[in-house]
């Protein structure tokens, strides 16, 4: 199910699909030096992946803010009363 990066590391030149697989590791600075260098080399040569990487970075930046903006209200007092009722029952 999950992708193993070891095969990618062995490769001399990365494909666009490899770069797409590794893009978050690259942006999160989790790729490691060697892989980082290979990704940068690919980006230097490939305008499609440069654009993709730019778009992923924007996604990473704006999606959390768009999600936070939609946070809904809840009745915390009601939840608290429920917790207290259950605590009393289980202690009593």
């Amino acid at each position: 199910m999950l992708t193993d990066n070891r095969n990618v590391i062995k490769k001399h030149l990365l494909s666009c699909k490899d770069v797409a697989h590794l893009a978050s590791d690259y942006l999160d600075k989790n790729a490691g030096n060697k892989l980082n260098w290979k990704i940068r080399l690919h980006l230097l040569m490939c305008s499609c992946c440069r654009r993709f990487m730019r778009h992923l970075k924007i996604t990473q930046q704006i999606a959390p803010q768009l999600i936070k903006k939609s946070e809904h209200e809840m009745d915390a007092g009601f939840v608290l009363q429920h917790i207290k009722d259950r605590t009393n029952i289980s202690q009593g």
């Binding site: 778009h55 704006i62 999606a63 959390p64 999600i67 605590t87």
Partner: protein, 211 residues
């Protein structure tokens, strides 16, 4: 109930002191702050059926044990770990295993497995251009906000939880791994898949103005 003064609770030490003192306002504050994410974590571990129960059990455990909180992690990480433990315990009680595959099912049209690449790893077509690459402009788009939230809610539960814990709650990959009971490497893959799906939402929005 006393009037809630939320400003004090921006300071975690003040909040924790309030919780230990049994202050209702402090509890309401953490319920507002964490309840939603707790549900998402519970769903990622047990699936939908038991998630509400698990969160209720977790709240009771938090209420009873807050005095024992030693602050070796942040309050949020401690709370999420309790949810995770309650969820695990629930699965054991129900003697039902939920596999990560079930919770991380493929989203149809997934970026890496879809038609975006040829068999030798080249792109089938160029990366689409965007009308706007300005984050400030995109953040003002109400329709995009709607599309992103709609898609977030149909992500597989483990992906949604990993994404929210990482990109919104800013937890470390290791802590998320402990909370969701997967390796940090698997957390990175889950987060990446969620980001790619959201990227495709923006692609579509840029092209059509809709979801």
């Amino acid at each position: 109930m006393a009037k809630v003064n939320t400003t004090d609770y921006c300071n975690e030490q003040v909040l924790i002191a309030g919780l230990i003192a049994g202050d209702d306002c402090a509890f309401c504050e953490i319920i507002k702050r964490f309840q939603h994410t707790m549900l998402i974590v519970a769903r990622a571990i047990t699936g939908d059926t038991f998630a509400d129960d698990v969160v209720q059990d977790a709240w009771v455990a938090i209420y009873k044990n807050i005095a024992k909180f030693e602050q070796r992690s942040s309050l949020k990480t401690w709370v999420m770990t309790i949810v995770s433990n309650e969820a695990k315990a629930r699965l054991r009680r129900e003697s039902r295993k939920v596999s990560l595959d079930e919770l991380d099912g493929e989203v149809p049209g997934s970026y890496l497995d879809g038609a975006n690449f040829t068999s030798d790893g080249h792109r089938s077509s160029p990366t689409p251009s965007w009308r706007s690459e300005s984050p400030e402009e995109l953040l003002e788009e109400k329709q995009l906000q709607h599309c992103i939230n709609k898609t977030l809610n149909i992500l597989p539960p483990a992906q949604k939880a990993a994404f929210i814990l990482r990109d919104i709650e800013q937890e470390s990959f290791d802590d998320i791994g402990n909370i969701l009971q997967v390796s940090a490497a698997n957390v990175r893959v889950l987060v990446h898949r969620a980001r790619l799906t959201l990227l495709q939402v923006i692609d579509r929005f840029q092209e059509t103005g809709t979801c």
